[in-house]
């Protein structure tokens, strides 16, 4: 698995360490592992982009899919430690209007609890 999922003390939140890429090669895997977490009760997803060199259109689509899944459950998807290459995608798609951004994973956790 190319993603590392970490539970938090808050049972409803999960940290997803995205790693080097979220793109057409692993977007389906991202959807699968996140859907499984939603089935297990997770509602809030903190996406850690600190190591991420590429977020492409398919990767972004998989995040939109997750957002559509958790929004009706009052869940949230938030971005943390957004790397500069990912910030380029956030800016051109204006997705900061949908996904709150935090400077660190810890700041995101604090905001969600």
């Amino acid at each position: 698995m190319s993603f590392v999922l970490e539970p938090t003390s808050d049972q409803e939140s999960v940290i997803v360490r995205i790693g080097k890429a979220l793109d057409f090669r692993n977007a389906a895997e991202f959807k699968t592992v996140c859907q499984e977490k939603v089935r297990e009760g997770a509602r809030n997803f903190i996406l850690d982009f600190s190591e991420t060199g590429i977020l492409d259109s398919t990767g972004l689509g998989s995040i939109f899919s997750l957002y559509r899944q958790v929004s009706p459950l009052n869940g949230q998807v938030v971005f943390a430690s957004v790397s500069r290459p990912v910030q380029v995608v956030v800016q051109l798609t204006r997705t900061y209007k949908v996904f709150r951004q935090f400077p660190t994973v810890e700041a995101a956790q604090e905001a969600l609890t």
Partner: protein, 151 residues
């Protein structure tokens, strides 16, 4: 900096190899003073989206794969040309789609639009005689592209 020209004979590894090139350019102060690093990231995204299109949809049947990437600074812009020996695409209908026709929070269909809005003077020449297809464009620090995604 000099013009960069690289050949990639393997579709399975082209994405990782190109990413490694961009990483090197970023860390080796590859860019001239007139081009900022955000422009390099924008170029990386545009190149990635096109290569993703090639990897997922191009037909290289019967041929040895050959993808060529050229990057060259020209004044305050970066010029890029990507050639490949696939059967090519009919792109006009895809590139003429306007963002407002995208679904809200779309899962698919954003790749070529991202390529379109990230670039200037985007041109695709499909080979008619079994030669090389050629996509070429510029990226510029002057741009503040917006996909127009509906939320």
């Amino acid at each position: 900096m000099d013009s960069q020209l690289h050949h990639f004979p393997n579709l399975d590894t082209v994405i990782d190899q190109v990413h490694a090139l961009f990483d090197a350019w970023e860390t080796e102060d590859y860019l001239p003073p007139t081009v900022n690093v955000a422009t390099l990231y924008q170029l990386k995204l545009a190149v990635h989206e096109w290569l993703a299109n090639l990897v997922q949809h191009a037909n290289f049947e019967g041929d040895t794969t050959d993808v060529t990437l050229k990057v060259e600074p020209r004044d305050d812009r970066l010029f890029c040309a990507i050639e490949d020996n696939s059967d090519g695409f009919v792109l006009d209908s895809h590139l003429n789609i306007e963002p407002e026709y995208l679904d809200s929070l779309p899962e698919r269909g954003m790749g070529l639009l991202i390529l379109k809005i990230c670039t200037e003077e985007l041109t695709y020449e499909r080979s008619e005689l079994g030669g090389y297809n050629r996509l070429h464009f510029y990226v510029s620090a002057e741009q503040d592209p917006w996909l127009g995604t509906q939320f």
